[in-house]
């Protein structure tokens, strides 16, 4: 197993608002290897979008703040990186695909310009014109597993060879026609049949599915090591969503990036993820290989969520739902945050919050890829209706 691209340790993110502190994310830990898809699933308000934006430190830091924990991306702790160096990791290091591409694409620029901009940024970094995370003129090569820079605490320095100015002038940025070819190749990568026509259009002239493909093309054109997809298909129609998910799965196989896939839709997660983490009220309450978690959920919330999932609707009798509502995270319940709504809750649940413990006692507790649940009574969950 190659080194993980991303290791998150006990991350806590809070928002400081005029009326108090809001605990959006508490003690979340993850590990993602290249080529793996980790799905994070949860309802509105569970903190998954905060998590998605906290990792590349895209949250506005005055109201939000990373309370504790570390985010180690290819060996460097992003929490310790000063803000002015952050743009170096975004894009070529970490790419993001958001929910509603109409908001993420600049409405004033045509498709060609937007993808070309992403490619140009990558070229600048590869040529060393701009300090980059990968260290100068070594573009990221997907055919090889990444070599983690082992210089913790500092970004790789750009080593500019002598004669750099001449070299840069010689390698002067691709002409427009060369850029065009590269843009077209990325558009074909996302299976757009007629890319030449698309190049000159503005985002509002495209359908939702097309826009999302373009977002994916933009994200991939920077050749990121990690792709964070935050509800990428939630705004799309069912048939278009199915097309885009098929596309993403094929790209995962071809491109080999690590993907953090965030969604509230269990069906979508079941389709795409290798491992799944279930978030509730800012914490991961269950984690494990997707088949294990779906077949044998070991947290009452996961089980209730699966039971309430739409495809299991039967036509007779009322639908099962979860009584109560999501807690207010400025005053989270003590101990296990699910205990006010949990049928298995006992006094111990109000005390110390249960840590993620392996479901199978034989598994090594330190491994982050086995099936784990944060419930003191996880053994009783299979007996729930």
């Amino acid at each position: 197993m190659t080194d993980p691209v991303l290791i998150v340790n006990d991350l806590t993110v809070t928002y400081t608002v005029g009326a108090g502190i809001f605990y959006a994310v508490s003690d979340v830990s993850l590990e993602i290897e290249p080529g793996r898809v980790i799905g994070i699933v949860g309802e509105t308000g569970c903190g998954k979008s905060t998590l998605a934006k906290a990792i590349p430190r895209l949250l506005p830091e005055p109201p939000a703040s990373i309370g504790s924990g570390s985010i180690i991306f290819q060996g460097t702790d992003l929490v310790k990186v000063p803000r002015r160096k952050l743009p170096m990791i975004r894009g070529t290091g970490i790419g993001m695909v958001f929910q509603e591409p109409l908001n993420s694409l600049n409405p004033a620029f045509r498709v060609f310009d937007q993808i070309a901009e992403a490619i140009r940024v990558r070229h600048y970094r590869e040529m060393g014109w701009v300090k980059s995370f990968h260290g100068g003129d070594q573009p990221f090569d997907y055919s090889k597993p990444p070599v983690t820079e082992s210089s913790p605490g500092s970004l790789a320095k750009v080593i500019v060879p002598s004669g750099a100015v001449e070299k840069a002038a010689h390698d002067r940025l691709a002409t427009r026609s060369q850029l065009r070819e590269e843009v077209l190749s990325y558009l074909r990568l996302v299976r757009i049949n007629d890319p030449e026509t698309i190049l000159n259009l503005y985002p509002h002239e495209l359908s939702g599915g097309m826009r999302q493909r373009i977002m994916i093309a933009m994200a991939l054109s920077e050749k990121p090591a990690l792709l964070i997809a935050d509800e990428p298909t939630s705004a799309l129609d069912v048939t278009i969503q199915a097309q885009v998910l098929t596309l993403m799965k094929e790209l995962i196989d071809e491109v080999g990036a690590a993907i953090l896939f965030i969604s509230h839709d269990l069906g979508v997660i079941a389709e795409t993820a290798d491992e799944i983490g279930v978030m509730y009220a800012g914490r991961i309450v269950e984690y494990g290989p997707v088949a294990d978690v779906f077949r044998d959920p070991r947290h009452p919330y996961t089980k209730a969520l699966l039971r309430a999932a739409p495809a299991h609707y039967k036509s007779d009798g009322p639908l099962s739902s979860i009584p109560g509502s999501v807690p207010n995270l400025s005053r989270p319940p003590p101990g296990c945050r699910f205990h006010p709504r949990c049928v298995l809750a006992k006094d111990i649940c109000k005390g110390v919050s249960p840590p993620l413990a392996p479901v199978d006692p034989a598994d090594p507790p330190a491994s982050r890829h086995i099936h784990r649940s944060a419930c003191y009574f996880q053994a009783e969950v299979p007996n729930l209706p």
Partner: protein, 349 residues
Amino acid sequence: MSDSAPTPSPVPPAKGADSPILVFWRVLRANPLSLFGFLLVALICVVALIVAVAPHVLVPYGPQQETGVFYSPPSWQHPFGTDGLSFDVYSNVMLALPLDLGLGVGIAGASLLIGGALGLVAGFYDAPGTVGAGTSVVIMRVTDIFLSFPSLILALAITRVLGIGIVNVAIAVMITWWPYYVRLVRGEVLAVKHLPYVTAARAAGVSENRILIRHVLRNVTEPLVVYFTLDIGTVLVTYSTIAYIGVATRYPGPTPEWGAMLAFYQGSAPITTYPWLVLAPGAAVFITVIAFSLLGDGLRDILDPRTRRAFVRGAAPEPPAERSAAELPGGPVDAAPENPLINPDPGGV
């Protein structure tokens, strides 16, 4: 039944709701400049009231009262000094305060009422094929005509017609001012009238007029209030500029006014030798305008529900992009006609 049980309910407890005044205070406290602006405006208003009602409390001398001291620099007896006619500058500045403040608020207010009413009508009753549509067109074209003139020059021209005098200049400024409000209000109405809650009111059977007054008007007032507060300063400067030219009131005279004072002192004495003469009225205008500007900024934060949310205890801050598709801007996806340019030949798998 697995429906929502009585406890915990889907609704937060009513006792947690904060009073608007408390929220107002918290926002001000978090934003020191706005607090300063608010206090300053309050101070200015109180002083103006006192000067208007009981001038002897704060104003030692009359406007044209000779003190016997000529060109005296600021001192304890004459905080802003005296001028070439031995009038006390401080007294004149203070006596001009209620007038200028009243003019600023009054002119802006009248423009707001007239222009706002026209804007409401023009924005709301413009369904094609009705009488309202024709009225809207007329209102907007007249507004456009007025807007095509530079306001200062138009005001001067109107003053020429009406004659010199405080009230005439006020009327002139007001005539050039209302069109901005028409445009502003109409724009807001257009933004609001397609919102789902307006349609919902229509679906409930509410009459159009009532929709305008109950729903549209109340949701349009916020940006209006902010604009109005900021506008007071602008109106004041415009009025003072016209007064500076000399067409409002004579200075020295029984009714001092800051613009007229500025004009007179700037012409009558070397500024470098006697700087306090122009600094005093100039600073008065400046401070008043700044105070209202800061207040307006603060009001914007208070009235915007998104920023206000952060100050209400118990309400979650707006989570980043955690909205589902239905809550995205643009409303229901196929309720409105589509853009004909959308969807070229579908590129697909």
